[in-house]
Amino acid sequence: MTLTSVTRWDEFMEGIWRQNPLFVMVLGLCPALAVTVSAVNALSMGLATTFVLTCSCVLVSLLRKLIPKEVRIATYIVIIATFVTVVDYLIQAVSLALYDALGAFIQLIVVNCIILGRAEAHASKNPLLPTLINALGMSAGFTIGLFALGSVREILGAGTFFGIPLFGPDFQPWVVMVLPPGGFFVLGAWLLIFAAIARRKQRKLAEATQNA
């Protein structure tokens, strides 16, 4: 398969926009909602997932001819679990505070459907470069999604962004945003906004075709 740079870019953007794992495919909800109480957590979780997704996909892609297809899923899981363990230790080594904030959800990356889905649907069938691009795109999409959740929740729920107070000391934080219901509401609101945009586009398109 030859890839021009344009299609490579498209491939990358696919994961960010048209196939965004969080907003479009609605996968990996648990980490997306559980850890996004602040922008830092969201970003860290996104990077951790990126690491696992990229490494696993690369390894799967490299070994794809070797892996017997009867046990491929088990193999993928072992590979994913390996990298999750690695990232788990890495984060512990970098910052225990961060590790505590992300909690069990680091280890729960193992079962994040996005990763297994990518391994099965893409990496197992494609050579290294496309796999890498696809995995990076997906990871970026997921990270952006998490970041979108985390920033809204942090700004509204604590009045800060990356821990920096934005509105002065008298600001009343909307505590609900950093509580479990807030996670659901913010993601739901994002989806509503995207749906509204999509509908408006469709209407415009319909009008345009009608006029034509």
């Binding site: 017997p68 046990v71 491929r72 899923i73 088990a74 899981i77 072992v78 590979i79 390996t82």
Partner: protein, 232 residues
């Protein structure tokens, strides 16, 4: 996942075991190297975290030693140069002793836990043997509501309740007064904690955590406090 335990049909068993073994070995290698590579940093991090927590509640301390107080009255040192962590006697209470630069005991720190608003509140409190007072506390872990429950760390009125009286009764078996949390504005005695309005539940959890732990720990160590006076 469906195929994890289904016996092979097309690939020969030998080839399969060979590749699986290869992959397992590869993964094992990756994990072990990651584990080894980060081990020191992680342990260091953990130690620093504990030290930071203890130093925070015992500001004068410069080094710490971990102990366990067994029910029968013996105190053993845990960790380097003492008992292995998993050989601590049944029912023992762990605590840290903080020593100042000159190696003198500057305070005792121990963990306490109690149910707060949404989950357990886990705290580390400091006991000053010289004055028989609880001099302060820090939070190890909690899931209280940000902006409400976590005010126990910053609320001035609440923190002004410390130091708390924690003297033992005449026979040394129980606290002379149990530590209690009272409604905001009604603290009248040195063993009472002044609750935060709007976060009474978390405030009470702190009080209960200290009280429960101190009740168990202090009768064991106060009579033997002389054993701990000097850094071992």
């Amino acid at each position: 996942m469906t195929s994890a335990a289904i016996p092979p049909q097309t690939t020969s068993a030998v080839a399969m075991i060979r590749t699986l073994g290869l992959i397992a070995a590869l993964c094992g290698l990756i994990i072990v190297s990651a584990y080894q590579g980060t081990y020191d940093a992680v342990q260091e991090n953990k130690r620093i975290a504990v030290e930071r927590a203890v130093f925070k509640v015992i500001p004068t301390a410069k080094s710490i030693v971990e102990y366990a107080a067994a029910p029968i009255g013996t105190i053993v040192k845990v960790g380097a140069g003492g008992t292995a962590p998993n050989a601590v006697p049944e029912g023992a209470v762990k605590f840290y002793a903080g020593y100042d630069a000159s190696g003198k005991l500057s305070g005792i720190a121990a963990e306490g836990v109690a149910k707060g608003y949404s989950d357990n509140v886990r705290i580390l409190y400091a006991y000053d043997p010289a004055t028989a007072m609880i001099s302060g506390f820090g939070v190890v872990a909690m899931r209280e509501t940000p902006g409400i429950g976590d005010k126990i760390l910053v609320d001035k009125g609440f923190l002004a309740s410390f130091p708390l009286q924690a003297s033992l009764s005449a026979d040394g078996a129980i606290l002379s007064r149990e530590i209690v949390t009272v409604k905001h504005g009604s603290k009248a005695n040195p063993w009472e904690i002044d609750a935060i309005t709007g976060a009474t539940i978390t405030s009470r959890a702190v009080g209960r955590a200290i009280n429960d732990s101190a009740k168990r720990l202090l009768p064991r160590i106060v009579p033997r406090i002389s054993e701990l006076k000097e850094q071992p």
